[in-house]
Symmetry: C2
Subunit: 548 residues, 2 copies
Amino acid sequence: MTDLFTRHKPLLESALKALETREFWTPFPEVPSGKIYGETAKEEGESSYAALLGSAFDLPGHPEEGRVGSEVSPWGAELGITYPAAAPETLVAASEQAAPAFADSSVEVRTGALLEALVRLNKMSFLLGHATMHTTGQAFAMAFQAGGPHAQDRGLEALAMAYSELTRSARDAVWEKPQGKHAPLVIEKHWELVPRGIALTVGCNTFPTWNGYPGIFASLATGNPVIVKPHPRAILPLALTVRVLREVFVEAGLPQDAVLLAVDTPDAQITKELAAHEKVALIDYTGSTAFADWIRANSRAQVFTEEAGVNSVTITGTDDFAGMCANLAFSLSLYSGQMCTSPQNLYIPRGGIDTDEGEKTFDAVAEGIKQAIDALLSDPARAAGVCGTIVNPATLERIASARGAGRVIRDSAETGHGRSATPLMVVVEGADGPQNDECFGPVSFLVPCDSAEDAIARAACVARSKGAITAALYATDEALIRRAAKAFAQAGVNLSVNLTGNIYVNQSAAFSDFHVTGANPAGNASLTDAAFVAPRFRRVMIRWPKAA
Amino acid sequence: MTDLFTRHKPLLESALKALETREFWTPFPEVPSGKIYGETAKEEGESSYAALLGSAFDLPGHPEEGRVGSEVSPWGAELGITYPAAAPETLVAASEQAAPAFADSSVEVRTGALLEALVRLNKMSFLLGHATMHTTGQAFAMAFQAGGPHAQDRGLEALAMAYSELTRSARDAVWEKPQGKHAPLVIEKHWELVPRGIALTVGCNTFPTWNGYPGIFASLATGNPVIVKPHPRAILPLALTVRVLREVFVEAGLPQDAVLLAVDTPDAQITKELAAHEKVALIDYTGSTAFADWIRANSRAQVFTEEAGVNSVTITGTDDFAGMCANLAFSLSLYSGQMCTSPQNLYIPRGGIDTDEGEKTFDAVAEGIKQAIDALLSDPARAAGVCGTIVNPATLERIASARGAGRVIRDSAETGHGRSATPLMVVVEGADGPQNDECFGPVSFLVPCDSAEDAIARAACVARSKGAITAALYATDEALIRRAAKAFAQAGVNLSVNLTGNIYVNQSAAFSDFHVTGANPAGNASLTDAAFVAPRFRRVMIRWPKAA
């Protein structure tokens, strides 16, 4: 059953090459077009999604002790889908049972099956788009991209990196040590690749596939069975994924229970029980720092995390004021700030900045961004298309509370579609305040600073101390940019400089951008470097004297 | 100052190649011969060592708030050397001060300097041999090899792996994303390699350089300043190493405080204060599991360990009984069982085994090994040359206590040279007993088993539950060997099968054997795989639109 590997080897080789060059590459087109995905793909995606609603999700052969599922689209409708549920102990036992055969399978068989699964998932991108839209509350265009091809890219990236690590040293060697005038010592050696153990992926509500695939594919590639624990409000995208993986595993002669779905309800979550289980050896987690701390304190597993952070924009000058404002307007509005890459704090000198439109006061900069947001969101349908909806009602409370933090420049409002909220902009004075913690959602804090240098220092400081996944800088002085580059590098945060036009600080592209550096408190799971993959398996040797 | 890199590039390239093929390779000859190291090398090593005794060890420019040093050779003499000492806070501050310039240095400058340091250390191997002999208590031949060339091999291996990781993906890229009929998006990207932070190496008493070099060279290569904290009884080999590194750093324009020596005395150790320091981001530790647990509980650092384990020999049959006994005699006697690779438990079917000399009862097998040890150690000078001395007086107490654990087959005795003890062999009955924990030193427990399968199961079980770095098997049945290979692989322990002649289970060769698999409780520091190196640095990006 290595024919899947042979079939997809060119895909793997291109991915391996892209990991080195870090240039643009993807095999999974991001445009939801019939010309690419087939003329009927759009309709089929819609009808497949509709067919799932209000029904029992079929997962043949999966452990099932009951049914749970209470997903409600932030766009309005209840999904009414139930999934097979089982106790953590049942799932761990099934995982353990699948483990030996899965560990014994060859790298080529596993890699081939996982490549095939990604290709099949890609063909389902319209369905995954609808599933992602109605669990995360993203607008469809974004849900298609982030839930479909971009997530598949991240899965492929992790798979390729795992393949690279699994094959980087010989599996067999003849070790021949000279002995001067005597005959050499000749030892034959063979290495087994031993997976670490049961892996747990704890999914998030906002990007269940994009954040989930790297750990899932890295663990499966390295021979670890994976228990996929979706967020109870965003099960469907991962349930579809698990189903595809299990189908391919069966076809490839692999144990289908090497990947399991662990569903629960918001009122009775099983994440802690799974994470603390002594048999769980690997955990991939996306979510709050508080829960990540709990996992680290209570689990014996190797833990990879993406946690909270405070992303920033530092504005010290620009030669394209309108372009800057338009770019930031989109970054602040996109998915209502619910991306781990969304900017939160805007550090601006209180004395204003130089621009191509002349000097701009602090208030003029704030007003420029506000007006750009207003323009972007003036049409309700377009506003909903950019902002999507608010996935967690608690975010609305955070917005309400943030209103009181300072002078409101722009108030948050509904788009008219679903549970929604457009960006709130608040000026906060002083060193202490809500800007020093993550305020997840469409809230930005404008922080007046003493100077450009002070602005950079404060943005870098919050990244270093509270974590950050992105930082943006607008500046025209090359020496200042160099100093800022150094400060943000030391804070361990990726920096985007002078973005205007159609590229945004929120965007993180597989095969090029390492998402989460691992160098500040925002997490240690760098997608995808060797450190993310190498500890998922070990090499164990057997050696013996070579027969004369 | 990249000329050191250019000069040593062929060495690096050979090392990189060896990491892939895992075949025999070393640039550092293990034979202490004047023909290789120069006709005067032996004498110079002796006189250099003699000159150090009873004096203040010179470490120019090193932080110094006092002098400590109380090393006493297990062979008898006091070394009388004092080293510059400073408080942990002073050392951390010096390390912090060196960090930015060290982080800013290029991969080539650091790699070139570290290659040069290894070459210089190699030329000093006779001196390092004496230093190692009189701190670890090894006999000179072993001290030369383990403290000199074999340690240098391990350092080079880690350095090469680090170089491989540092250079595996582009540092600069132009990311050009097609936009259909529109002009492509073109983004320039640059990645900084950001070291993790201050690294601490906690040295051990028995193999200060061999166990220390991998972490030291991996951390330095990836730009982290290193504080080397030797065991208070084995400072000199690491002090010499730190001196060479600091000298080369100065010549290469690197901050010499990027490597510091942290000395203390047995009565007032500073390891805990250093390990728990909030600025310490990486720890390499070799020693007890109890202290490793303390570090894990009290440190925020990424921790790499080699801890306790229970190594085993499983004897189910042999077609060379005399060869097996002679081989095991050497493995059990070498450095009096004070190697992390020394066998401890001998699992033997109580019904005896088949051999080329006919059936052998359990007692006959035990007697064969005992007689081989007696023969090996019959000459006191040779006994001292094989056994060396006992480095820690507590080991003598463990031997005394182990005598009472069962039927003594062979008693431990002195060699007549230094503080010494030859192997003790004790038959222990039952499933519980001292054989289920590490008994560091020249103690072997012979465990009667119900069958060959039972012997394998028990050896694999103790490796899995208590950790193990080595396992040996003697067997003639191919199917049994295959089953054993699987059991030991699942226990995460490297297995040597049917070793006779001049290759021993204790031996772990750089560039070929991964020392410590990381797959059982004996530690997570696999020397040297990508998982050991990759987390020591991070990649942080800056990106900006490419100017039209």
